[in-house]
Symmetry: C2
Subunit: 304 residues, 2 copies
DNA sequence: AGTTTAAGTTCAGATATTCTAAAGCTATGC
DNA sequence: GCATAGCTTTAGAATATCTGAACTTAAACT
């Protein structure tokens, strides 16, 4: 089936004759005639009654011309998908680290239809290392991960932002440095296989801090809840700590220098990704900005 | 645009590689490759990332493959319209004489989706002569009309049924023959330009009956309402008289012999009409049978 | 790390399709 | 009945598409 033939059929139905259709489409009359002959042959149906001089559409031909409109409409939608110059067009399989998902995904999905009407997003969550591996193997197109250590040279990491890591201490804790606190309290260690966990483990190792009796959690919310009720202290990104900390939890910058987790968009290095990587980064940045603004407003509201 | 290319794209998206798609479709691998190259060219879009060896769909390619499904689905609908062997397929522009419309159209439109799922009907009403002219000129595909006198040789009339014409007399009328009644009462003459009107006029002329003070109406319901309240008598098809007559109205066979109106389906004589004329006649006959059954049941119900 | 294999791409030629222009029909209108 | 407009047909040219073979290369396997 060739869509041009359906267009010609529609034109004939609209204009009432082969010759007017030919004129409008800048084709020869014989082309029009041959196209319709081919269409009838392919469909195995009589679309025209050729006994009368402008050939008359049969009832079936009339209906087929109508249905041709549906086919052509879907075809048009397809072409418009492809002619979105700027902006995102396509179905993107996007991964987001669990520790960032809460902050990003709801707002992102809410904004997506406005920011990128030509795009669909299949979002999934996981650990930085798994997500990076999925991007590398092609199961995902892109992922938001925490940067850490060695990075595959086939992948590209575009930093989206840096969150300072802060200490969250339960009410009554006395120490002020990581080392002091590690002696005094149980350390709540975020899953070392995750990006944040790697940052934490690297920091502890670098300063040779021994956290005896550490507990491992793989949920930020759970970890903070444990801090809230005094089970131990932890080291986590500031925005997450502020989101979940109870009013009496003490928040400190670690004295051992700035500790950060760096959040990045990871994509494969390949020519076709150049078309959309920038737009996706823009969109994520916009979302982040809006989400942070909202969080601040919420926090402000809570102060009242 | 060629739908085959979209099918190939879908196959690749489903099977994951060009070669599997080629195998499934019994094509050579190079055909598949060339089709996809042509599709990308036509759409002006990169659908595949050819750096990796089964070429990977880009996000846009994934979305296009999905939308291709919509195009192909509409195409399939179109083909199925054409492959309805028996039965009606198409959009039929159908005329029905006003004096028959009440009896036929509601039931007909109600049954249509079941009886002829592949058909649509644009129904209009009018006089037999106008409807026949419309069929002849192609504004209608077929019409249900009253047969009368000379018929165009380019048209074909298939009789659907015959309604005996009966006299309807108001309460207290004394005459028993048309002639007696014409002397006694005002004659309510149905629109002589219509089919029924022609039958009436022909009958009166044939028997040289003079209906002084006749009144002309172009609605059966109005005519019968006038009989009901004693304004005059009339001669109309039995089913219509029975439908609208008040309980005290007297109904008589005319003594001058059987007077009938013959209802027929009129269509152009042309090869393509052969495909559907029979099916349409069947459908109308079925509808009529059901409608009559219903009318009888209603009448029986009223007797209770 | 080098080799093999499988999977795509490209090319040249064969085949099929579609177009144009001209000639041929035939309803329709005068 | 004749003229004309409108469609069909035909032949040949221009395109497009397919096949099979040679070529390339990513991924898998020593």
């Amino acid at each position: 089936m060739r869509t041009q033939n359906l267009e010609t059929l529609q034109r004939i139905a609209r204009l009432g004759s082969f010759s007017l259709a030919a004129e409008e489409a800048n084709m020869t009359l014989s082309s029009v005639s041959m196209q319709m002959k081919a269409l009838e042959e392919e469909l195995g149906a009589e679309l025209f009654d050729r006994a009368s001089r402008p050939p008359r559409l049969t009832p079936l031909g009339r209906r087929v011309a109508e249905q041709a409109g549906n086919v052509l409409h879907e075809d048009q939608v397809l072409r418009e998908l492809c002619s979105i110059g700027e902006g995102l067009a396509g179905t993107f399989r996007l991964g987001v680290i669990s520790s960032y998902a809460t902050r990003l995904i709801p707002k992102f999905l809410q904004m997506a239809p406005m920011n990128a009407p030509g795009a669909e997003f299949d979002v999934s969550t996981g650990l930085s290392s798994d997500l990076s591996a999925s991007v590398l193997s092609g199961r995902l197109d892109a992922a938001v991960v925490t940067r850490a250590g060695r990075e595959d040279p086939l992948l590209r990491f575009d930093t989206m932002g840096r969150d300072p890591m802060v200490l969250a201490l339960p009410k009554g804790a006395r120490g002020e440095t990581l080392r002091q606190l590690a002696d005094e309290l149980r350390f709540l260690h975020f899953q070392p296989l995750s990006g944040i966990g790697r940052v934490i483990a690297d920091t502890l190792a670098k300063h040779k801090i021994d956290v005896r009796r550490a507990r491992i959690f793989d949920s930020i919310e759970t970890t903070m809840e444990c801090v809230n009720i005094g089970i131990g202290f932890t080291l986590l990104p500031e925005p997450d700590v502020k989101r979940y900390a109870a009013a009496d939890v003490k928040i400190l910058q670690p004295k051992i220098g700035r500790v950060e987790r760096e959040v990045a968009l990871v994509t494969r290095i390949e020519p076709s990704a150049e078309r959309w990587r920038g737009a996706l980064l823009d969109m994520l940045a916009t979302t982040e900005r809006l989400a942070q603004g909202e969080q601040k407003r919420t926090a402000a509201g809570m102060d009242d």
